[in-house]
Amino acid sequence: MFRNWTKRPARFFQTKFRQVGAAGVLVLLLGGAVWALRASSLPPADFTFSNLGEIKTVDPALVTGSSEGRVVDALFEGLTRWHPENLSPQPGVASHWEISPDGLTYKFFLRPEARWSDGTPVTADDFVWSFRRFLHPETAAEYAAELWYVVGAKKYTSAQIELGDPVEVELLENPPGALPFAQGITLRGRLVGIQTGDKVQAITPLPMPPHDLNDSALGLGNTEEGPPIYWVEIDGELRRFQKGAKTPGTEDYRWLLYDFAHVGIRAVDRHQLEIRLRHPVPYFLSLMGFYPFSPVPRHCVERFGYPEWTKPENLVTNGPYVLEFRRIRDRIRLRKNPYYWDRHNVRLEVVDVLAVESYTTNLNLYFTGETDWIPIVPAEVIPELRRRCPEEFHSYPLLGTYYYLLNTARPPLDDVRVRRALAMAIDRKEIVEKVTRAGQRPLRSMVPTVLTVSVPEYVPQEGPEFNVAEARRLLAEAGYSGGRNFPPIDILYNTSEAHQAIAELIQAQWQRNLGIRVGLRNQEWAAYLSSRRQGDFYVARAGWIGDYVDPISFLDMFSGESPLNNTRWKHPEFDQLLEQARHESDPKRRLALLARAERILMDELPAIPLYEYVSQNLVRPYVRGFYSNPKDYHPLKDIWVDHDLKKKILPRRGFWAWIR
């Protein structure tokens, strides 16, 4: 104590210093908090909606997923676009089109007034370039396989080239004066030989005299194994290409692909685009309105490259809206595109896209007036919503099937009687009434029944009905009378309360109706997918949303060679029917073939359909131009807000309004 007293002046100074320091830190921290909020208050948007999460990208070629779709569809426009009510293909960038009688050649006539958001015209060349980019292996577009209907497209994407194929060789150097991310100098020729180590596969006779092609010049004495050397005939000359150009006499290259000039996509003139298909595709016009097939601006992509070209300051689009800014996991702001050809019919100036993921948070935002549309609501509030605001809650059947996969490679599920017994012991009504509760319809066919609204000629083929007695009989016939000796199996599902509730209910139903015990196995998303792929499951939960309004979208994934077929189920007749349907140009006969295929699927039951998905939109009454449809597609182009009604409905909010 005494010592402190003598030192007091110094201590006093130290204390003051520390206090000032502490105050300084406090000011800094608060300043930091304010800085984090800087410039973040915004003028309100005309229309705000929740998009359920941050989108992956705005690059149309790379997107998958409905959240991405809502934004990309507003930014870009393809050859056609879907009608907001009935989803029929409407003119987009193409004002009209011609289809050849055999259904194989499509001619699209582009409207001359179509513009990019920087004012440059959208031309047929833009589409050719965009489709080429879409198919290019370097782009690695996830939807690439959807464009493989086009002649030569699959060869181009998969870089599978055979002897005699026309090829294009992209060299490392860019053409002089090209933009930094442009395609390198590209040579066209014919593949005449492939040399791997000492082995040569070549066309005989070689088209040009191999005057200097003695063994040593070809490096054939050299046993060193390197990347294969491709012999390409270019303008009557033989040139050899190898990755890295390790072997003397070879040239390095970036890509060696099937020649795009032989892929069935070509610009006839500035405003005419021709696409040739391998077989008739009844939904091809619809497909061209699907957002991944939107054109991208070559001049912008080649200048900045991916992903820099997607930055708001660089991005050039051709749809109704342009990107104003993006704040990660917060919001995307869209503004009306002044160059859009149909700008007079775009009625919203500013649209905010919120990245709110939690269903409950979305509901809170909706009820505090901060968002005008939420695309999904928590299941437990649905009865309440139906009671309180029935005119705001829209539920409509979706083109999607919730189903259970059965691993037919694992006993006892390899026995069709067991599969049928399991299917017949499920009471779907109980599932939709007790668990999902949003108005889902029980489904006994793989193809959802709502498809018949658009394709009335198709008759979905239903599997067996709920019938406990018959299920027991079948199980007994398979040797598990009363569930005795039934091997332990389990239901695999990805972590989610809804999936768990359904799995528990089915577990109880099987126990009750068949007397079998079934385990539950819960895995997080990526692990669950991995288990499914590797066939490490007995029964697995699955869901499928159709990409296009056609039964094949729901049947194709059960074909023997489909990578999507996790059930290990293979049925030659089923595969054959699908193949026949693919090449059938008469729509009626085609649908009949598909129905026969579905009949087989529903008799064999490698998968048990449970219910049809429904949309669960909560939309403010002043939002107009919003329609329910089976793809839950609500283009921002057609949406508008009745401002007078909005003022009447939306009361002033906030503390002061409340006090009054």
Partner: protein, 306 residues
């Protein structure tokens, strides 16, 4: 001495970052599932193209060296899942927001904790003490989403003081900040109470009372400083916990901070983003702990820095 301490800490930090990097790198790739797994499984050829694009087709040791090389050049690469952004962009946008919420949370925790703790310590065993400590225990025990739900019902719907969620004004900070800080306020209150009780029983406090200082003076001027020691040592981990553990609150209030990124990057196998966030959090923990050690020295000169 402080310089030497900081240099030693820095060296350890680099070593720690490297170890964390290596362990996370191999752990992430050992978990089943990859960044390109979708319910709609990709065509094998398309997936091969994707893997080549991200160089995942190379042997793992090559990937490791390449990524380590990038890290040394302070380049965290592009996110797999949010492909339009560099990992550094995502962190630069999210970190200040997480920090802002964290600061409000920490301020709430310290202020509430100190006040409640001191009041309880001055009147131990009183009704006030019991109720405050019960409240503190409830604060610790209740998960933050329950606190958040109660706060939303109270201050968003019943008394519309604050926005329900989102980001953009100071009002958006308050509820998330409070929910993040509440459990820590409880812990701090209990810490302060016990520390203060101990300090108050010491000789020099009796002397202070004997000199005629009133209770407020004794508590604030004489006892507070020693009481703060355990609080400060608790603040380091608490700050780290608030910054990393705000996932649930960030999700409920849709605060675009780093917490949600962290969880999603892990579940979606976004290798680059997950790695970036792991390293940032490691760095934060290290810096915060170093700051705590330094502040010890300031509060109690007897402490030696090693």
């Amino acid at each position: 001495m402080i310089v030497g301490f900081l240099v030693r800490r820095f060296v350890w930090m680099v070593v720690t970052l490297w170890v964390v990097f290596t362990v996370s790198f191999f752990l992430m790739r050992a978990v089943p599932g990859g960044p390109f797994d979708r319910e709609r499984q990709l065509d094998p050829q398309v997936e091969a193209n994707l893997r080549a694009r991200y160089q995942l087709d190379r042997p793992i040791w090559q990937q490791y060296l390449a990524e380590l090389g990038r890290l040394v050049r302070l380049d965290l690469g592009y996110s797999y899942r949010l492909g339009d952004f560099r990992v550094s962009e995502i962190i630069l946008q999210g970190l200040p927001i997480s920090v802002a919420v964290g600061i409000v949370g920490l301020a709430t925790a310290v202020v509430l904790g100190l006040v409640a703790g001191c009041i309880s310590a001055v009147r131990p065993g009183s009704l006030l003490d019991v109720s405050l400590m019960t409240l503190a225990t409830i604060g610790i025990a209740l998960p933050s989403f329950v606190i958040a739900a109660v706060m939303i019902i109270l201050f968003v719907f019943l008394i519309p003081l604050f926005p329900a969620a989102g980001w953009g004004s100071w009002q958006h900070l308050i509820l998330p900040g409070f929910c993040v800080g509440a459990p820590y306020a409880g812990s701090i209150a209990r810490l302060v109470r016990s520390a203060m009780l101990e300090v108050l029983s010491q000789e020099y406090i009796r002397t202070a009372y004997a000199k005629g200082v009133d209770t407020t003076g004794v508590v604030l001027r004489h006892a507070m400083k020693l009481t703060l020691l355990p609080v400060v040592s608790y603040l380091g981990p608490a700050a780290a916990g608030i910054l990393t553990g705000s996932v649930v609150v960030e999700k409920i209030f849709c605060v675009p901070g780093l917490g949600v990124h962290f969880v999603e990057a892990a579940t979606q196998r976004d290798y680059t983003l997950a790695m970036g966030l792991i390293l940032v959090y490691t760095l934060l923990l290290f810096v915060l702990n170093t700051l705590v050690d330094l502040s010890y020295r300031l509060l109690d000169p007897r402490v030696e820095l090693r």
